[in-house]
């Protein structure tokens, strides 16, 4: 298992009283998993995703990443964990506007200390993978929303994470563009990276093999859409090796 969350809750203390965003959730995520989390606004989807991504820690319960209790890790160790094992895709892309597409993709690699030649090759490979080979030197302002999200996906994959987390990745995009991003994400998962998508969009959720529906901070139901049953065994890391994402390290 990549992640094993047991009885995880997250309570925010607010002036008006504590707000429980996530209540007592137990959940595991296996390598290669294809998971959607849906539910009404305010039900705690993003809060759960942030805990899975190790940017937030549970108020109670335990969350193990690769068997390690995340709440015992110091900030630096948690940053390194995110850098090397987890990719994030955001609704608002959050590309650095002064950097080109290629530079944005290189950024996490240089932070991880990857040498220049390897970095350049990996960036090329990723740009081709997301279909933006010709836009390497364009800045975000010169790209469309869908293209920016592609760059953001490439950036999230730069350090070959085992887990990719996406919070409303199509939230800012029109239907057609959203579908293109959705199939790109499908491909990323097919190529071996575990994928967790938080979304309102039933169309996007239904592409996943496993769907969690949340309500009031709890998992209300878990479904496996027809024709997309759980694979007998999760795809072992690295075996999807046809495309760039490659969970092999």
């Amino acid at each position: 298992m990549i992640i094993e969350a047991t009885n995880v809750s997250r309570v925010f203390s607010m002036p008006a009283g504590p707000v429980t965003a996530v209540r007592d959730i137990t959940l595991s995520i296996a390598p290669g998993e294809h998971l959607a989390i849906k539910g009404p606004s305010g039900c705690g989807k993003s809060t759960l995703l942030h805990m899975l991504g190790c940017v937030d820690t549970p108020s109670s319960g335990t969350l193990l990443f690769d068997g390690r209790d995340v709440s015992t890790l110091r900030d630096r160790a948690r940053s390194l964990l995110r850098l090397n094992q987890i990719g994030f895709v955001f609704q608002r892309f959050f590309l650095l506007p002064m950097l080109t597409a290629a530079e944005n993709i290189e950024l996490p690699q240089s932070e991880a200390g990857v040498n220049k030649d390897v970095r350049h090759a990996r960036t090329r490979e990723l740009l081709d993978y997301v279909g933006l080979g010709a836009r390497a030197d364009h800045r975000p302002s010169q790209l469309s929303g869908g293209e920016m999200q592609r760059v953001a996906i490439a950036r999230a994959l730069a350090n070959r994470p085992r887990l990719l987390l996406a919070d409303e990745p199509t939230g800012e995009l029109d239907q057609t563009t959203g579908e293109q991003i959705a199939s790109l994400l499908d491909r990323v998962n097919a190529d071996g990276t575990a994928l967790v998508i938080v979304t309102h969009d039933p169309g996007l959720a239904d592409r996943c093999r496993r769907i969690l529906t949340m309500k009031d901070g709890r998992i209300e139901s878990e479904t496996h859409p027809v024709g997309r049953a759980l694979p007998a065994s999760p795809k072992p890391s690295g075996e999807g090796g046809s495309g760039p994402p490659g969970a092999s390290r």
Partner: protein, 383 residues
């Protein structure tokens, strides 16, 4: 740096503020350094006066020539020269009379001036004049002029005395448009109508080796007189009016540095606040807290560094302009400067700017260090 326009604004602000800061540093020591140079330029190391007051400001030294001889005979002293200050009206047929300072110097081989044309003083009734006097009287060496001296502060008209202009000289304390003249002590005594013929305002002494030792010897020889080395003279000036410049400069430096601090802090804070989403995203992608915090510091150093580099030529140009304005005050010797460059000022300038870059970045660095990743990502989507 998201917005080049804002960064440029910051750089220009630092350049302007840095130029002012640099000038304040040049001003704080400028007059003192310049005065020391001027004193040393005369070739004498020690000034001997009757009392603690500055030459021309206090009582004169009586029997000055014998005092100078005795001082010159000290083993630590190489030369001693008496100077008596007076003023005079110098007249020449067909020209407007010129008001001039007139100094009478004793016998000595070392003299405080530099001859530009003609000869140095050799016999009686000879006069050296500066360029201004030469121009106003339209005379060349060899010409005759009439001198009406006014001595010891009394303004009663003394009989005119005929002098021959021996040469044109540059005097260390010359002001840009005043006339200066010098003659021998004996001739000045005659022009003064024989009043106090052997009195002097100051005895200028050149030390053989260490001025401090020579000054000590002089004090021992003549406990009734005061001997000041150039350093002590500068020190006395510093205690007098010159400290105003340092105080003004300290106040203005503080104001300037605070202004730079505020400017950079505001710029960086605005810039950081606009990028909270990006910063939180980078943190989510695995950038360490240290890394995003040091990026803020780097931005500060970049802005202050470029601005600081620009501030130097700007400061030098501004200092030259300000110096010219200040020197329009009357009675300022031509070679005296208010803004004087010394390497130490550059060192202080760089240190202050470096501190500014660091301190200005503290608050925005704190914002970034304390940024909650999850909450920020959420806020950025909601807003």
């Amino acid at each position: 740096m998201r917005q080049p326009a804002r960064a440029t604004l910051g750089i220009l602000g630092v350049a302007a503020v840095g130029a002012l800061l640099f000038d304040m540093l040049l001003l704080s020591q400028g007059l003192v350094i310049s005065m020391r140079n001027l004193l040393e330029q005369s070739g004498f190391d020690i000034r001997v006066t009757a009392t603690d007051s500055l030459p021309q400001g206090g009582p004169m030294i009586d029997n000055a020539s014998s005092a100078a001889r005795a001082i010159a005979a000290l083993p630590s002293v190489s030369a001693a020269l008496t100077i008596r200050f007076a003023s005079a009206r110098i007249e020449r047929a067909g020209k407007t009379p010129v008001r001039s300072s007139l100094q009478g110097v004793g016998l000595s081989d070392t003299r405080p001036w530099t001859i530009l044309r003609g000869n140095d003083l050799q016999r009686g009734r000879e006069l050296l004049i500066n360029e201004n006097a030469a121009r106003m009287l339209d005379v060349t060496p060899g010409a005759s002029v009439t001198v009406r001296a006014s001595c010891s502060g009394d303004s009663e008209a003394l009989p005119p005395v005929e002098f021959r202009v021996a040469g044109v000289a540059a005097f260390p304390f010359d002001t840009p448009d005043a006339a200066t003249a010098a003659t021998s002590a004996a001739s000045l005594g005659e022009a003064c109508g024989g009043q106090e013929p052997d009195a002097a305002d100051v005895i200028m002494v050149a030390a053989k080796d260490d001025p401090v030792i020579a000054a000590g010897d002089i004090s021992q020889l003549r406990p009734d007189l005061r001997a000041f080395t150039n350093d002590e003279s500068v020190g006395r000036l510093e205690q007098g009016g010159f400290t105003y410049f340092r105080q003004i400069s300290t106040v203005l430096t503080t104001v300037t540095v605070s202004f730079a601090l505020l400017l950079i802090t505001v710029l960086l804070t605005v810039s950081v606040n606009q990028r909270l989403g990006e910063i939180a995203a980078l943190r989510a992608l695995g950038f360490t807290r240290m890394r995003v915090v040091s990026d803020v510091l780097a931005e500060s150093i970049l802005i202050v560094g470029i601005g600081g580099a620009l501030s130097l030529p700007l400061g030098v140009a501004l200092a030259a302009g300000l110096d010219r304005i200040l020197k329009r005050m009357p009675q300022i010797p031509e070679n005296l400067h208010f803004f004087v460059f010394e390497p130490q000022a550059l060192g202080v300038h760089i240190t202050l700017l470096a501190l500014t870059a660091f301190v200005a970045a503290l608050y925005p660095m704190r914002i970034v260090a304390r940024l909650p990743i999850a909450a920020t990502l959420r806020d950025e989507v909601i807003s």
